[in-house]
């Protein structure tokens, strides 16, 4: 993770991925790549996008920083403040509520010590965030962590299994552009 005193810079793998993404849009429409690049930035820089990271994104695309801020603040997926190692995004919408999302949220607050919308748990492991429908309502209740969906968390055992898996994750999962063998991916070592 970068510290804020050093000007952040994308890894080489990410730069290659960004270059690929920019080919998806007309040359005079580079701004179209903003959301995809913000996702890369958030994944590479500790799960949130600091003002410095956003400035870097603006520079990479060739747009004004304000154009990045107004977008990052509109979309709920971008965290504008530091987060714990794992951000647990709990769906709170109707269908999930019908199958126990309120109870799940209360349970997660109890066992992690973190509060929804508040800072990370004392051990720095978990940030709890409530989100709206994740398009998985038939498998409710749901928690999303990075790119993974944990479904049917309606028993303490299912919740424990998720938390154990996350606690045992020493490194964050490799990002697709860091893996070899994928289209246009670059090895990152």
């Amino acid at each position: 993770m970068e510290t804020t005193t050093v000007k952040p810079q994308f890894s080489e793998a990410a730069q290659a991925e960004i270059k690929r993404l920019l080919t998806h849009y007309p040359d005079d429409r580079r701004k179209s790549a903003l959301l995809p690049i913000l996702h890369i930035a958030q994944a590479e820089f500790g799960g949130w996008v600091s003002p410095e990271v956003q400035d870097m994104v603006a520079e990479v695309i060739g747009i004004k920083p304000i154009e990045v801020y107004e977008v990052s603040s509109f979309y709920t997926m971008f965290n504008l403040k530091p987060v714990g190692k794992h951000v647990l995004e709990i769906c709170r919408t109707g269908p999930c509520m019908l199958r126990g999302s309120d109870e799940l949220t209360a349970h997660l607050e109890r066992i992690t010590g973190a509060k929804v919308g508040g800072p990370a748990s004392a051990d720095g492991l978990f940030t709890l965030k409530e989100v709206e429908c994740l398009a998985a309502c038939g498998f409710a209740p749901i928690v999303q962590v990075r790119e993974k969906y944990y479904e049917q968390l309606d028993t303490p055992e299912a919740v424990d299994a998720m938390l154990t898996e996350l606690r045992n994750q020493v490194h964050r999962p490799a990002l697709p552009w860091e893996e070899t063998g994928l289209p246009n991916a670059v090895a990152n070592n």
């Binding site: 179209s32 747009i63 107004e70 977008v71 109707g94 019908l98 429908c133 498998f139 790119e147």
Partner: protein
């Protein structure tokens, strides 16, 4: 057993790979269209099929395609709406993650029909893992000559890209989606101009739902007339229904349009009845934006006819006694469900998701949430119930995009059909505010 035009092979091992998909008849529609049909003939087949948009509005797809402006020398685009964020709807996620090549095949055939040389799939940002699956499948399609330059030696070129959103329900509205695809906030545009004339990058654009695009594949393979034979009346073909809530078997079902609602809920072929042996109380049949109906009105129309899973039957009775098929997000609620709490939850959703551009929606959704919150939490007054109806009325028809109505209709319907529950929340405020409390007629009679 109904016919499965989209999901027949969904559980075949490896069907997400080009090779296995191809072995099961994949990409035939591309070959047929590109080698034996003109683009206009493809559009004609889709018109004949009677296919109606599966994203929620039910607008005839072939007709939408024929509105696309075709000025000389200006690129045009097909954009697939994979934003799937309407609460209760989770069919597109399943289709894309299990059958990525079906969507890609549909995109190629449809892009050919529209004369688009670049097309995009706009997928909600939460589904990045599905974006990876699609990108892998797209790479396979390129490698096998179904995408890129000179597809199948025809001279037709097509590039296909997947683009993630960033978490915003409003980006499912097609003009907000286009703004988002241009790298901006997802604020819906004023219309006209419509996307068919000025869409992505101010160029002619068609936006279609994932399931609509996928349905083009069987339509071209079997012919529009064959497709139109399935279903009832103007509800042709098959539809994916994502069923959730208090059902024994929630999940995604491909039904032939016309299955009776009662059969869909109770038969073992579909949802297998209500969980825990309980009674059904209410259903939201087409995603959270459509009016809620109590059991007696979802199973039968006001005229006493069996309600069918079709556009027409579900909307029979208008908003007084009917609802809508919408996106096919079918939410069942058992007898222990608190309608006030549920309505408040959905209002919070719409308030949270309003883009804030127009005041009736920005302020109105806030009011709805606030008033419902106080009713649910034991601080409501009798006047609040009519206040809800009045706020809902003032939102309707006064906004730039239909999110306003999507927020207003469910509240108006909940009060219409369950007014006694709202009243009980005022007369029994303390009791109603207890966690898990629910109005039941017997509780009142006792």
């Amino acid at each position: 057993m109904g016919r499965k035009l989209l999901t027949e092979h969904i559980n075949v091992e490896g069907i997400d790979t080009f090779e296995v998909y191809r072995k099961h008849g994949g990409y035939r529609s591309v070959e047929k269209a590109i080698k034996t049909m003109t683009p206009d003939e493809v559009v004609e087949e889709v018109k004949k099929s009677g296919l109606r948009g599966r994203g929620g509005a039910g607008f005839p797809t072939g007709m939408k395609w024929s509105f696309l402006a075709k000025p000389e020398g200006v690129p045009r685009y097909l954009v697939c709406n994979a934003d799937e964020s309407e609460p209760g709807t989770f069919k597109d996620r399943q289709l894309m993650s299990k059958l990525p090549h079906l969507l890609i095949e549909g995109m190629i055939t449809s892009s050919y029909a529209l004369g688009a040389n670049t097309s995009y799939i706009y997928i909600r940002g939460e589904l990045l893992y599905v974006l990876r699956i699609l990108e892998k499948a797209i790479a396979e399609a390129y490698a096998n000559g179904f995408l890129g330059k000179n597809i199948l030696g025809s001279g037709y070129d097509l590039d296909l890209h997947v683009h993630p959103g960033g978490g915003a329900y409003i980006c499912g509205e097609e003009t907000a989606l286009l703004e988002s695809l241009e790298g901006k906030r997802g604020n819906p545009r004023n219309k006209p101009p419509f996307p068919a004339v000025q869409g992505l990058y101010a160029r002619p654009t068609v936006v279609n739902n994932v399931e609509s695009i996928a349905a083009v594949v069987p339509i071209i393979n079997e012919g529009g007339d064959e497709y139109a034979k399935i279903g009832v009346g103007r509800s042709t073909g098959t539809k994916l229904i994502s069923a959730c809530g208090h059902l024994n078997k929630p999940g995604i079902y491909e039904i032939e349009l016309g299955v009776p609602v009662e059969e869909f809920i109770y038969s073992d072929e579909y949802c297998g009845g209500i969980w825990k042996g309980r009674q059904l109380k209410a259903v939201v049949a087409g995603g959270s934006s459509v009016p809620i109906l109590p059991t007696e009105l979802i199973l039968k129309t006001a005229a006493g006819e069996n309600r069918l899973m079709t556009y027409e039957s579900l909307s029979d009775g208008g908003f007084v006694t009917g609802t809508m098929l919408g996106s096919g997000g079918f939410i069942a609620m058992d007898e222990t469900t608190c309608i006030v709490r549920n309505t408040w939850n959905f209002s919070r959703f719409y308030h949270h998701e309003s883009c804030g551009q127009c005041s009736p929606c920005r302020e109105g959704t806030g009011w709805l949430e606030k008033v419902l919150h106080r009713l649910e939490h034991g601080h409501g007054h009798m006047e609040d119930i009519d206040l809800l109806v009045s706020v809902a009325k003032q939102i309707e028809g006064n906004t730039i995009c239909p999110l306003g109505e999507a927020a207003a209709w469910p509240v108006a319907a909940a009060v219409r059909h369950f007014r006694h529950e709202f009243e009980w929340h005022v007369t029994h405020a303390k009791e109603a505010a207890q966690p898990g409390a629910v109005y039941r007629p017997s509780a009142v009679l006792a």
